[in-house]
């Protein structure tokens, strides 16, 4: 990324996921620790090498608390909260920090035991506060809308404006399940069809149960350092070529001018410009798939196709191996694992693809990858462009 201090270029030197998708015997912090230990081992580093730490969670001073649990005393820390997109933002920030020379090794972790603690009601009013947040969030909070309902409102408008069909949305879920079949850890691995999605019950029209991500326990971690530091580490470094993030609204969908355009429309072009590449050059994508519509909006907004053509882009295996844009090769949040804020999993899978470690869903010769997180109710977007080679 640039502007970089002379000679310092940010890379990802280690990645890992915790066990997932069901961890009834673990605390949230223990999930962080499991992922952190594995990511450091993957890099060939130790806790003593870490001078920076970043994570995001639902409590003030969360990163400081997790640092305490891990036994870290970092001189750089960050807990920028962008919902599911948090980890793309945190890694972008970490890249700036190491390139500026204010940190040498930044550990970024995620942990959640949402499934074990809260069950499967998060998206449908079981989150405790029911979408209530202090201040202006009240304006959309009295109508019984749900998280699923918010994405359903976007899907309905997209269908209205662009004739996107329920079958096209469903095809996203079908492809993610195809990929999950190759991931032994995935929460759901049995193949599904478009008809299976459309015949699953409607949760919030037009979104069916199988248009919605799964609810899981799990976490992940990555290690950001410089290319120079990574040169003699265990694994080949993956270069952080560019990153950007954007927001359009918080809890009030009524404050979003156009529900058919996500913040990816801002973060994507910025990230590609900073990376010095075009979307057409991307070999493999890890795109936040909280819901099927999320992916349709994201492929349009990142510029993989024109606005309104996302439905046609994703159908007929467009996101599958050998398709237009191989996406979510681990099975995604729709089938593999979604512990609440899935952004870290996108980064881990992107790095594995660029290292050639993705097993049966490896995209041959993948050189450029995109990880794009979407948070809240299409509220935030954060894009990372990663490369196998230095820019």
């Amino acid at each position: 990324m640039s502007p970089a201090r002379a000679g310092r270029r940010a890379v990802i030197a280690g990645v890992a996921t915790s066990d997932y998708p069901h961890l009834p015997g673990m605390s949230e912090h223990a999930v962080h620790a499991e992922a952190a230990g594995r990511a450091l081992a993957d890099a060939g580093l130790e806790y003593g090498d870490v001078d920076g730490f970043a994570t995001a969670g639902f409590f003030p001073m969360y990163a400081v608390g997790v640092a305490e649990y891990l036994g870290l005393h970092p001189t750089y820390f960050d807990e920028t909260h962008a919902g599911g997109a948090s980890f793309e933002v945190l890694v972008e920030h970490a890249a700036y920090a190491v390139e500026a020379g204010i940190a040498e090794v930044v550990l970024v972790t995620y942990g959640s035991v949402q499934l074990s603690q809260m069950g499967r009601r998060l998206g449908t009013g079981g989150g405790g506060r029911g979408g209530m947040a202090p201040g202006p969030a009240i304006y959309d909070a009295l109508w019984g809308n749900t998280l699923v309902g918010s994405y359903a409102l976007a899907a309905r408008r997209h269908m209205h404006e662009y004739k996107t069909t329920p079958e096209q949305l469903a095809s996203v879920a079908v492809t993610m399940r195809d990929h999950a079949a190759h991931n032994p850890q995935a929460q759901y691995r049995d193949a599904i069809t478009v008809d299976d999605v459309l015949s699953s019950r409607l949760v919030a029209d037009p979104l069916h149960k199988l248009d919605c991500c799964v609810i899981s326990d799990g976490g992940g971690a990555c290690v950001v350092t410089t290319a120079e530091r990574a040169a003699d580490l265990r694994k080949p470094a993956v270069h952080i070529l560019g990153g950007a993030h954007a927001t359009t609204h918080h809890m009030n969908l009524s404050a979003d001018a156009d529900l058919t355009v996500s913040p990816a429309a801002q973060s994507g072009p910025l990230a590609f410009e900073r990376a010095g590449i075009t979307p057409a050059e991307v070999d493999v994508a890890q795109l936040y798939d909280s819901f099927t519509i999320t992916v349709v909006l994201t492929v349009e907004d990142l510029g993989f196709c024109a606005k309104g053509e996302g439905g046609a882009f994703v159908e007929d295996g467009g996101l599958g191996l050998g398709g237009r844009l191989p996406t979510n090769t681990d099975g995604g949040g729709l089938s593999a694992c979604h512990p609440g804020m899935r952004g870290m999993f996108l980064i881990v899978e992107a790095v594995r693809q660029l290292r050639g470690e993705a097993g049966e869903t490896q995209v041959p010769g993948a050189r450029l990858a995109v990880a794009h997180g979407t948070g809240g109710m299409l509220s935030t977007g954060a894009t990372l462009v990663l490369g196998k080679e230095a820019p």
């Binding site: 009601r121 449908t124 009013g125 079981g126 029911g130 209530m132 201040g135 202006p136 009240i138 304006y139 959309d140 909070a141 009295l142 109508w143 019984g144 809308n145 749900t146 699923v148 309902g149 359903a152 409102l153 976007a154 309905r156 408008r157 209205h160 019950r201 409607l202 949760v203 919030a204 029209d205 037009p206 979104l207 009030n252 969908l253 009524s254 404050a255 529900l259």
Partner: protein, 171 residues
């Protein structure tokens, strides 16, 4: 009681399809829970109070004329000062969803119900429930009107929208 059971509960005779009023109490069931009431921010006190009196207000900029919701300290376009403007209450459905699963009361008791974003004639967009019709009848572009104002507290009410009489059925 699960949501699926709730949706099968027979409706009280006075309830209309799509009605947002809580269902009559079912023996052995907890009493109906009211919709939560807001604690108005000071700059929005008039907005909430007006709906308690059956009137819908929007903010208008005294400098550039921009109309906006939700209520804020300044105009979102030019950061100029804002005043209250009476709204017609008519608008168009920008998007909608039929909520079929919500574990929170009272909403769970109302399933299925319509959550919609409505573009008011004056310009601002608000979230609301479209009531007074079958949820299946709602469509993007439907003309709706704020006809029901539910009082939630001494300081706040909310506007609910219904299709204008004789609305076009689309099937």
């Amino acid at each position: 009681m699960s949501a699926s059971k709730a949706s099968k509960t027979p409706q009280a005779p006075q309830a209309r399809p799509g009605d947002m009023r809580p269902l009559a109490e079912v023996p052995g069931e907890r009493p109906p829970k009211p919709r939560p009431a807001p604690v108005p921010d000071p700059e929005a006190a008039q907005y909430w109070a007006a709906m308690g009196e059956g009137r819908l207000l929007v903010q208008g900029c005294t400098r550039c004329g921009n109309r906006q919701l939700y209520p804020r300290q300044h105009c979102l376009t030019c950061r100029g000062p804002v005043e209250w403007v009476e709204a017609s209450g008519r608008g168009t459905v920008y998007s909608y969803t039929v909520i079929r699963q919500n574990h929170q009361r009272p909403f769970r008791d109302w399933i299925p119900y319509v959550v919609a974003l409505v573009d008011l004639e004056e310009g601002p967009r608000i979230m609301t429930n479209v009531v007074g019709c079958d949820p299946e009848d709602v469509y993007v572009g439907m003309t709706v009107e704020a006809t029901r104002f539910d009082v939630l507290s001494d300081e706040a009410g909310i506007a609910l929208f219904e299709p204008v009489p004789g609305f076009e059925h689309r099937g």
